[in-house]
């Protein structure tokens, strides 16, 4: 069915607000992170830095139903780039030491993309939005990990997204007359 002009305008504004919110949140996270890192040596608590992170989290929670698409785009392109770097073995500016590192990133990207796919069928619930926000924070604030390519926090973020998928599967109503494919016997 064709969308009316009004519906298209509303859809475009929603998409623009979601993507814009995502970028503003990213800038707030970057600035907040800078302030927190800069105050690491001093005894002062970087209130402004933490406030920026809290505001970023609130924006991300409110707009998660849109920016998951943008996150999917980053994962799609990143997975392809990871595979390309793995195939060519040439990584001039990424600092990888082995081919397995870009391959790991490609697998991470594909796994994230697979977990995001369900949101294109059904909009994310509040729990899903929280999981998406936690995933994003874990992705952009990496702790030291098994390699320079992926950090532990990024893997924890993926585990949180996986857990939210598991919970949604567990909560989904089961009809005893349906088979594994949801078709009535």
């Amino acid at each position: 069915m064709e969308k009316t002009t009004k519906q298209q305008i509303r859809s475009g504004l929603r998409l623009g607000a979601g993507a814009g919110g995502f970028l503003i949140a990213a800038i707030l996270i970057g600035n907040g992170g800078d302030r927190i890192i800069a105050s690491a040596g001093s005894h002062q608590i970087p209130w402004l830095g933490w406030a920026e992170l809290v505001i970023a989290a609130a924006i991300l929670l409110l707009t998660a139903q849109v920016w998951f698409l943008l996150l999917g785009g980053y994962m799609l392109f990143g997975a392809i780039k990871g595979l390309f770097l793995f195939a060519t073995g040439s990584f001039p500016s990424h600092g990888f030491s082995t081919r397995l590192e870009p391959l790991g990133i490609a697998v991470y990207g594909v796994a994230t993309l697979a977990l995001l796919y369900r949101f294109s069928q059904t909009p994310p619930t509040l729990l899903d939005r929280v999981a998406l926000t936690v995933f994003l924070f874990c992705f952009v604030i990496p702790w030291i990990g098994p390699s320079s390519a992926l950090s532990w926090s990024q893997m924890i973020g993926l585990a949180v997204l996986l857990a939210s998928w598991g919970i949604s599967r567990w909560r989904a109503p089961h009809d005893p007359e349906c088979n594994a494919h949801g078709v009535k016997a």
């Binding site: 990213a26 392109f77 990990g145």
Partner: protein, 159 residues
């Protein structure tokens, strides 16, 4: 607040408040675009100690990298998307229809029933997946183009 976070090639901006222009004195526009190609992205706004291989590969700006940075890395994503979307488009086919004279499979036509054939499946799983992947790729490209536009404006103005 600086709008960009300069890395190795970019001369640090004067820390005297808000700056819009990012082009250093004596720098050409192309040199400025090249030196800031990695900074106008999600990875670029993160503190340098937070950047790792995953953020560099997954959260970079492919458009800016292709045009002004390391094209061999940026083009991988674009080539993959272009080839992938074309092959998916060619491969998934049309949803089947049945129960009218216009059914896409001749054996499913019914005698005496005219009019547009109802679709057996609204959309196949492959079509849904292709639609999702094309959609996310388009949004990502739109954001990258927008950030590259902002970069171009920033490089047009001297600090």
């Amino acid at each position: 607040m600086n709008l960009t976070r300069c890395s190795t090639a970019c001369v640090n901006a004067a820390n005297n408040g808000f700056t819009l222009g990012v082009r250093a004195p004596g720098q050409t526009w192309t040199q400025c675009m090249s030196s800031t190609s990695g900074t106008y992205s999600i990875n670029g706004v993160l503190p340098s100690s937070w950047q790792n291989g995953a953020t560099r590969v997954l959260a970079g700006n492919d458009v800016s990298q292709i045009l002004f940075g390391d094209s061999s890395e940026g083009s991988a994503g674009l080539v993959g998307w272009e080839g992938g979307s074309r092959s998916v488009e060619a491969g998934v086919g049309e949803a089947m229809t049945a129960g009218r004279r216009t059914a896409s499979i001749f054996d499913l036509n019914l005698a005496g029933r005219t009019g547009p054939a109802p679709m057996i499946l609204g959309k196949t799983g492959a079509e849904k997946l292709a639609g999702f992947l094309t959609g996310v790729a388009e949004i990502k490209m739109a954001i990258d183009v927008g950030l590259t536009g902002a970069q171009a404006i920033g490089c047009a103005i001297h600090r």
